[in-house]
C-alpha cells in the first residue's frame, strides 16, 4: 500500500459530455469514476486537467458550485494539450486535481450587490460559474447585467444557455456584441469597451471582468472614466502554472502566487503588483 | 591596460565606435565580468588581466543588433570564434571594431582552488609562476597547473582578424607545452582505452552534469535562436536528466551539432560548474575531421567551406566506420 497522498497526485475524471461551443472551444463535462462530482469548489477556482504523456494545465471551472452533479471546463484549442483534449470522446478518462486558487467573493463582498459581468471570448468561462451561482441564489444579489462580446457570432461561448436561460432569468439583463458585422446577426456590433460606454451603466455596481488582456485594459479604463472605483472591479489573471499550490514559482508576480493568492484579484490589488501579467 | 582604455576613449570620442565591449573589474580580483561601456568615464572600471578568460565574441550577436559599431577586445583565440560567427552570418565585421589584445595565458580560479588555496584575493601571473594573495597569506602555484585548459593547447599568439593590435606582436608564437605540440594527446589517450573504460570515463564525467546549459549558452557555435533542447515538442528536458541516457545524449548531440564549426575555444569547459572536460568531446570531432577531410581549423578565415558543408572526391567513405571497428 502506497504511503503517499499529495496535492500533486490527481484524481481520475471521466468525460461524460462534450459540447462544441465555437470552432475552437469545447466544453467538457467531467465526473469521478463513481459518477459523482470530483470535488466541491467556489466560483472562480481552477483545476489542473491532464492527459498523462501529453501535458497538464490549469483551467478555470466553468460550472457553478450549485451544480451538484459534475464539473465543466470550457477549453480553447491553443496548444498540444488542448489539441489532444479536443480530439477526445465521451467516456474517455483524464486526470484532474484541484480545486486551486481563491474565488470571487460571492458570499462576502458580492452579496447584496448589483453585479455587472463583462466578458470577452473564452473569458466567459470563469464568469459563467459566478453567473449561474448568482442565478441559483437570485435572492442574495441585486440587479445583474451581463455584457459579453466575441469576435463573431460563432465565437460566442455558451450561446444556447445565454439565450434560453440567462435572458429569461428575472432581473438579469444580457447585452451581447460581436466585433464585426455578420449576416444573420441583429444584435450590437462593436468592441466590448466601446459598447460598455454606450450602455451608460450607473456606478452602483460591482464589476467582474474577464477576457483577453487588451480587452481588460480598455474596459478598465472605460469603467474608471464612467466613475467606477478600482475597488469595485474584480478580474482574474492567467499565468503559466505547474503546481497549483504556490510553490513551483512559475506564476509568481511580486509577493503573490497567482495560483494560490489569485486567480481572482480586485483591481486595486493588481495595481500594487509589478506589471508582469 | 591603460593603453587599451586610452585607445577605447579615443575611438568613442571620434565616433568610430558607439560602445565598448570588454571586461569590468569584479569584487574579488579574479572575477572580471564581460561588460559594455557606453561612455568614456565608465571605462575607469575596465580591466584586462589573466582572469579575463571570457571570450566576448558571442556577445557580438546581441551587440550587432544595436545602433552603430561596437569596439571589442579579443584575445588571439577569441578571434577564431569571431571569424566563425562571421562565416555563419551571425555577426557582421562592419559593425565591429576589433582591438586584438596580447595574451600570455588565462587563469582558472577553479584550478587554483584545487591546489588547496583558499580565499583568493588576487593573483599575478609572472612567467611560469602565479603569485597569489589570499586571506590566509601569500601562496604560489605553477602557471601550467592553473591555466585554463584552452591555454594548454594555445593556437598561438596571432589574431586571425583585427583592426589593430595593442600589446601583441603579430606572429608571436605560443609557448611550447606538451599539449601545444600535440593537442590531441588527451583524445588519443581516451581513444586507446578499452571501450568499457572509455564509457566509464564519460559516464563518471557526464553524470555530474547539472543541466545548467552554461556550456551551450556560452558556446559561440551554439547560436540557434531556439535550441532543439528547449522545444516543448521534443521528448526531452533541458533542465534535468530524466534518465542516465539523457545526460549523454545532450552533450553528444551538442558536440555533433558544433562539429566542423567548433574552434576549440574551450569556453564550454571554462564555464562548466562541475568542471566536466567537455572540450575533449569537441576535440575528438576535430581530430576525426582532420583525419577524414584534411586538417581544418574552424574560424581561421571567413571564406573557406567547412568540411562538413562541402564535398570533395577525397572525402572519406562511410566504410571507414567498419574499418575503425564501429561496424557490426
Amino acid at each position: 500500500m502506497c504511503n503517499c497522498t499529495d496535492t500533486l497526485i490527481p484524481q481520475i475524471g471521466v468525460i461524460t459530455d462534450i459540447r462544441t461551443e465555437t470552432p475552437d472551444v469545447k466544453t467538457f463535462r467531467v465526473v469521478g469514476r463513481d459518477g459523482k462530482k470530483l470535488f466541491e469548489h467556489m466560483p472562480g477556482q481552477c483545476a489542473m486537467v491532464s492527459v498523462p504523456g501529453v501535458g497538464e494545465a490549469m483551467f478555470s471551472i466553468t460550472s457553478s458550485p450549485t451544480n451538484t452533479e459534475f464539473q465543466e471546463f470550457s477549453i480553447k484549442r491553443c496548444g498540444s494539450l488542448t489539441d489532444y483534449l479536443h480530439d477526445m470522446t465521451v467516456g474517455e478518462e483524464i486526470t484532474v486535481r484541484g480545486p486551486y486558487g481563491n474565488a470571487f467573493p460571492v458570499e462576502t463582498a458580492l452579496k447584496g450587490q448589483n453585479l455587472l459581468f463583462i466578458a470577452g471570448g473564452i473569458g466567459l468561462a470563469p464568469l459563467r460559474s459566478v453567473i449561474n451561482y448568482v442565478r441559483d441564489k437570485r435572492e442574495n444579489y441585486g440587479t445583474v447585467d451581463i455584457l459579453y462580446g466575441s469576435r463573431s457570432m460563432d465565437d460566442l461561448v455558451q450561446l444556447k444557455e445565454i439565450q434560453e436561460e440567462w435572458m429569461n432569468t428575472p432581473g438579469v439583463n444580457v447585452h451581447l456584441t460581436i466585433d464585426r458585422e455578420q449576416e444573420g446577426w441583429e444584435g450590437h456590433v462593436g468592441f466590448v469597451p466601446a459598447y460598455l460606454k454606450e450602455l451608460e451603466f450607473s456606478t452602483d455596481k460591482t464589476v467582474l471582468v474577464c477576457g483577453p488582456p487588451i480587452m481588460i485594459k480598455f474596459t478598465l479604463a472605460g469603467l474608471i472614466e464612467m466613475g467606477f472605483d478600482k475597488t469595485q472591479v474584480y478580474t482574474t489573471l492567467e499565468l503559466r502554472m505547474k503546481c497549483g499550490v504556490g510553490k513551483c514559482g512559475r506564476c509568481n508576480i511580486g509577493s503573490k502566487y497567482v495560483c494560490k493568492d489569485g486567480p481572482v484579484f480586485r483591481c486595486d490589488e493588481i495595481d500594487e503588483l509589478p506589471p508582469e501579467y | 591596460m591603460q593603453e587599451l582604455i586610452t585607445r577605447a576613449k579615443e575611438l568613442l570620442a571620434d565616433g568610430t565606435v558607439s560602445r565598448v565591449l570588454g571586461w569590468k573589474k569584479g569584487d574579488l580580483g579574479w572575477d572580471p565580468e564581460p561588460a559594455y561601456f557606453d561612455k568614456a568615464e565608465e571605462l575607469e572600471n575596465f580591466i584586462y588581466n589573466p582572469f579575463c578568460g571570457a571570450n566576448l565574441s558571442k556577445y557580438l550577436i546581441a551587440a550587432g543588433k544595436l545602433e552603430g559599431t561596437t569596439l571589442v577586445f579579443l584575445k588571439p583565440c577569441d578571434t577564431y570564434s569571431f571569424n566563425q560567427l562571421v562565416k555563419e552570418h551571425r555577426v557582421k565585421k562592419d559593425k565591429t571594431y576589433i582591438i586584438g589584445v596580447g595574451c600570455h595565458g588565462t587563469l582558472d580560479p577553479e584550478k587554483i582552488r584545487n591546489t588547496g588555496v583558499k580565499g583568493i584575493a588576487d593573483a599575478v601571473l609572472e612567467g611560469d609562476r602565479v603569485r597569489l594573495n589570499t586571506l590566509y597569506g601569500d601562496k604560489e602555484a605553477a602557471a601550467a597547473e592553473v591555466l585554463l585548459d584552452r591555454c594548454l593547447v594555445c593556437k598561438g599568439k596571432t589574431h586571425v582578424v583585427c583592426d589593430e593590435l595593442i600589446g601583441a606582436e603579430p606572429g608571436e608564437e605560443a609557448g611550447p607545452g606538451e599539449l601545444a605540440v600535440n593537442r590531441f594527446a588527451q583524445v588519443e589517450e581516451l581513444e586507446n582505452l578499452p571501450p568499457e573504460e572509455r564509457f566509464a570515463f564519460w559516464q563518471e564525467q557526464l553524470s555530474r552534469c547539472i543541466r545548467c546549459n552554461a556550456c551551450r549558452n556560452v558556446c559561440p557555435a551554439c547560436s540557434c535562436l531556439k535550441c532543439v533542447f528547449d522545444s516543448s515538442q521534443f521528448d526531452s528536458n533541458q533542465k534535468a536528466n530524466a534518465d542516465t541516457f539523457e545526460e549523454q545524449m545532450f552533450h553528444i548531440i551538442r558536440a555533433f551539432h558544433v562539429a566542423g564549426r567548433c574552434t576549440d575555444c574551450g569556453e564550454c569547459s571554462r564555464v562548466c560548474p562541475e568542471s566536466i572536460p567537455l572540450h575533449l568531446l569537441n576535440r575528438k570531432f576535430i581530430k576525426d575531421i582532420d583525419t577524414f577531410y584534411g586538417e581544418y581549423q574552424a574560424g581561421a578565415d571567413t571564406e573557406s567551406k567547412g568540411p562538413l558543408t562541402d564535398f570533395t572526391f577525397e572525402d572519406v567513405e562511410p566504410g571507414i566506420i567498419a574499418e575503425r571497428g564501429g561496424g557490426r
Binding site: 496535492t7 467516456g91 | 583558499k118 549558452n217 528547449d230 571554462r270 564555464v271
Partner: protein
C-alpha cells in the same frame, strides 16, 4: 561535547552507514558533491563548498511523483513511495543549514509537500563549522554564524579531531547510535571556543561581509522593480541555470512527463530556473519575454518577494556559490551592491 579522532571518522561513517543512508561530500574527478557514501567512496570534509548544495537530499533535482498507465481506456495512477528510510546528511555548512529553513517555509507551508516533508522527517542533519571561510562567503549579511552552524548535531573539525555537539532529539539519537566512537571531552569547549573566535574574526574581514540590505523591503517593491539599473546589470547574463542549480535556496520546479514505454508515463518534477526563456511560456504568450525581466525576477524574488511572505527572511544565505560559479561573474552580491549601495 564529544570528540572523535579524525582517523576514526571512517569507522564512525561505516557504522552509521550500516543502519541508515549517509550522505557526505564526496570527491570525484576533482569536484566535491554530496552523495551516498559507501566505504569505496572518498569523502572530503576540507572543501568548504560542494558544487551543488545538499538541497538534493531533501528536494532532489529530479524525482518521480507518480506513474500513469492507460489500459483499455482506463487510467491508473501509482504514486511514488514517500521516503521511509532514515538518513543522515553530514557536513552541511551553516549557510546550507539555514537554506533548509528557507525551503521549509515553502514546502512545509499549507498545503504541505508530502515528498519533501517525508525526507525532512527522516533526515538528520550534522552540520560542520567553516574552518576557513572563503572570499566568496557573505553569510554574515544574513545573520548566519558559520562558527555555530546549528541543525541536529553541530561539529567542528580541527587539526586532529572532530568535536561533536548534539542539539536536538534527532541529534541525541544519532549521538547514542554512534556512542562507540564518541568520547566525552571536558576541554572540548575551550578548543571549540578558540576555533569559533578564529572563524568569526575571519568572517569580519571577508570582502563581501558588509553589504547593505536595508533597501530590500516590500514597500520598495515598485521602486526596485522599475530601477533602470537592471537594464545595465543583466547584459552579460548568459541565461543559463548555473546560479539557480547551485543555489541552496532556489525552489522553483517544473512538472513533466517521461514516456517510459510499456511502463507507462512517469510524471516527474525537476528543478527549473526562472532564468530559462520558457519558464513562463504559455500556449498563448509569455509574460517575461526579455532576459532582463527574467534576471530581475530571480533577484527580486530572493530579496523582496520571498521576504515579504516570510517575515523578512531573505531567500539568500550568502553561500557564495553563484559568486564562484557564474560563467559571466554576475551574482547576487553585485545586484545588492548596485541596487542597495555598500555599507
Amino acid at each position: 561535547m564529544y570528540r572523535v579522532k579524525k582517523d576514526r571518522l571512517t569507522e564512525l561513517f561505516t557504522s552509521v552507514s550500516k543502519v541508515q543512508d549517509l550522505f557526505l561530500p564526496l570527491r570525484k574527478c576533482d569536484q566535491t558533491n554530496y552523495g551516498l557514501w559507501t566505504p569505496e567512496e572518498t569523502f572530503d570534509l576540507d572543501t568548504l563548498k560542494t558544487v551543488k548544495s545538499a538541497k538534493d537530499c531533501f528536494f532532489p533535482q529530479s524525482e518521480v511523483l507518480y506513474r500513469c498507465r492507460k489500459e483499455d481506456g482506463k487510467i491508473s495512477i501509482d504514486p511514488q513511495q514517500l521516503c521511509d528510510r532514515p538518513f543522515v546528511v553530514f557536513g552541511m555548512r551553516a549557510c546550507d543549514v539555514k537554506a533548509v529553513e528557507v525551503l521549509d517555509r515553502v514546502f512545509l507551508s499549507d498545503p504541505v509537500d508530502s515528498f519533501y516533508k517525508a525526507r525532512r522527517e527522516h533526515g538528520t542533519i550534522v552540520s560542520m563549522a567553516c574552518h576557513e571561510p572563503e572570499e566568496t562567503c557573505f553569510c554574515r549579511n544574513f545573520e548566519i554564524d558559520p562558527a555555530a552552524p546549528g541543525a541536529d548535531v553541530e561539529t567542528w573539525l580541527t587539526e586532529d579531531s572532530l568535536y561533536w555537539k548534539p542539539l536536538t532529539e534527532k541529534g541525541e539519537a544519532l549521538t547514542a547510535a554512534a556512542e562507540e566512537f564518541l568520547e566525552k571531552t571536558e576541554d572540548g569547549d575551550k578548543t571549540v571556543e578558540e576555533e569559533q573566535t578564529a572563524i568569526r574574526g575571519i568572517v569580519e574581514k571577508l570582502p563581501l561581509s558588509h553589504l547593505d540590505l536595508s533597501r530590500f523591503k516590500q514597500e520598495n517593491t515598485m521602486e526596485l522593480f522599475d530601477s533602470p539599473l537592471w537594464e545595465e546589470m543583466y547584459k552579460p547574463c548568459l541565461a543559463c541555470g548555473t546560479c539557480t542549480f547551485v543555489c541552496p535556496t532556489c525552489q522553483c520546479y517544473d512538472i513533466r512527463d517521461f514516456d517510459a514505454g510499456k511502463n507507462g508515463v512517469q510524471r516527474y518534477r525537476c528543478w527549473d530556473s526562472c532564468m530559462y526563456s520558457d519558464f513562463t511560456m504559455m500556449a498563448h504568450g509569455n509574460m517575461r519575454t526579455s532576459q532582463m525581466q527574467r534576471f530581475r525576477q530571480r533577484f527580486m524574488h530572493k530579496l523582496v518577494y520571498y521576504p515579504a511572505n516570510n517575515d523578512g527572511l531573505y531567500s539568500c544565505v550568502g553561500c557564495g556559490r553563484c559568486v564562484s560559479k557564474c560563467p559571466a561573474s554576475l551574482n547576487i552580491v553585485k545586484v545588492i551592491k548596485k541596487l542597495g549601495g555598500e555599507a
